[in-house]
Amino acid sequence: MHVTKEFKKKTFLKQFLLGLHVSNSISNPISIQQRKNSIKLSADLAMAFARGRTHWTHALITKLGQKEENKSTLKGILGRRYEILMARYSCPLLYQKVQRRKKSVRSYRFSYNAQKRRSSALKGSCVRVSPSVVARNLENRRTKVLKRLVPGGELLNGSALLSEALDYVISLKAQVDMMKSLWRATQVSSSSNVELVPSAPLQKKDASCTIANSEE
């Protein structure tokens, strides 16, 4: 199991750098916002690729591919896989179904609240709700939020949603760790240029750094 996670980190890095490379070459982004978006895009893609084939990865890739500004980058990164993926998973029907379901949920909730209001108006201020109903309501509300958060979660239910969420959390954590360490790598490489580490064990490296600096 450790082995698979190591490979995942390697593939993540490869994909991430490839994505950055492609996004930089395709359009020289001017503002920081654009750069951030391209970085985030390639990071998400890299995470999805490194994870493999799961429901949320496909949903994530599809979602990213549907946005207009990402399409060129995606094409560059995925290459011929882009066409295959888009053809298979760009079912607008799927998302229409989701939209319809959302609407029905909303209308149901509205009607339920209206019922509650009516009942409360009739019975007075207190609405007699049993604790299990309350708990169920809370849980339903939270499940809906979770569905919105996890990519592709809208279509899932119950235990499948939870397993996808579990997988997603694991991958997100790994992604965050990788980006953090990349960030730290850039930090260190820039800081070692500026200042030499004064500690004794690093004398040899200090010498090397001074050699290097003098060479420059």
């Binding site: 750098l17 070459s25 939270r142 360490s181 790598a185 260190v188 580490v197 040899k204």
Partner: protein, 337 residues
């Protein structure tokens, strides 16, 4: 992988087997379905370097082992099931043993490895609970959901103390939102810090990062949570070997690499992380040029241009010194400890 989990398994099997014996395999049989699915689930996703998850995986593989162990008692369970079969037909809550027993055969999806999956899951209804098929299915579903919730609880930090589904869900949602926000924040930072990422030497960097992954993941391990050193080391030598295979390096440099990684590991655990960054970073670039020295000099030029102004000094250092000083610095690293 099993070897790594073995030491974790040993203290837990001792606790698991008595429970199997005492509860008459009913509890684990009840959990037999979800942990199997959970184990299946755990085997699919890649496994993060997180000791809590390692513990959890160990626990669930304990359940798998216990399930395998309970498959040995399941032959003795199956003689009692035929009498409860009739009890089920009676639709009676009380059984002869005073405990409602219903055998429910559920076919697992696939028998990939026999030690992990039982062909049939015998679910026993608890005392006083309804025994019709609907509620059974309902209960199985609920058990599945509860098992997943438990996994999520262990994954999200600070969730194990909370009881109740809604609050745990709340925590999970908060955690997911937090992680997503962190991704945004980190991408913003990365965007800000590198005004121009020059990828002219992309190929060499990609091949170099396969080694850097070793260092980076050590970093991850330290930053995330404390990891067992024994666990890491076999992984690292494995990674080192696979990396050097990719690089087509000489055996000398292979040994160097593994040595370096182990040195880094030891260093890593003895010294503060921030300091070791400075230790590790030069040694990674040294390693890069250990690789690079075998490759044509053109690659070194590319490495130069790639990494940018920050690491150029380090790389030029590497160009000056041949392979020998890295070996010396290795020994020096060893002696530092």
């Amino acid at each position: 992988m099993e070897d790594e989990i073995q030491p974790l398994l040993n203290p837990t099997t001792a606790s698991a087997s008595p429970s199997v014996a005492t509860s008459g395999a009913s509890f684990t049989a009840l959990l037999g379905l979800p942990p199997n699915r959970a184990v299946e689930l755990l085997h699919e996703p890649t496994f993060p370097s997180d000791p809590a998850l390692v513990d959890r995986a160990a626990r669930f593989s304990v359940f798998a082992a216990a399930a395998a162990a309970s498959s040995a008692p399941s032959p003795e369970v199956s003689p009692p099931p035929p009498p409860p079969e009739t009890a089920k037909k009676r639709k009676d809550g009380a059984s002869t043993n005073g405990k409602a027993k219903v055998k429910k055969g559920k076919h697992a999806e696939e028998d990939t490895d026999g030690e992990n999956k039982l062909p049939y899951v015998h679910v026993r209804a608890r005392r006083g609970q309804a025994t019709d098929s609907h509620s059974l299915a309902e209960r199985a579903r609920r058990e599945k959901i509860n098992a997943r919730m438990k996994l999520l609880q262990e994954l999200v930090p600070g969730c194990s103390k909370i009881s109740g589904t809604a609050l745990v869900l709340d925590e999970i949602i908060n955690h997911v939102q937090y992680l997503q926000r962190q991704v945004e924040y980190l991408s913003m930072r990365l965007a800000a810090v590198n005004p121009r990422i020059d990828f002219s030497g992309l190929d060499t960097f990609l091949s170099a990062t396969t080694m850097e992954c070793g260092r980076l993941t050590i970093g991850n391990a330290k930053v995330g949570t404390e990891l067992d050193q024994q666990q890491q080391q076999p992984v690292w030598s494995e990674v080192g070997v696979s990396d050097s295979d990719q690089m087509n390096s000489t055996t000398n440099s292979k040994r160097l690499q593994i040595q370096l990684q182990q040195n880094q590991l030891q260093q890593f655990w003895h010294v503060d992380f921030l300091n070791t960054q400075n230790h590790l970073q030069p040694s990674v670039w040294e390693r890069d040029t250990v690789m690079g020295s075998t490759a044509p000099h053109v690659q070194r030029e590319e490495q130069h241009s790639f990494v940018g102004p920050g690491a150029v000094p380090l790389l030029s250092f590497d160009r000056v010194n041949p392979v020998a000083p890295p070996i010396q610095s290795n020994q020096q690293l060893k002696m530092e400890l």
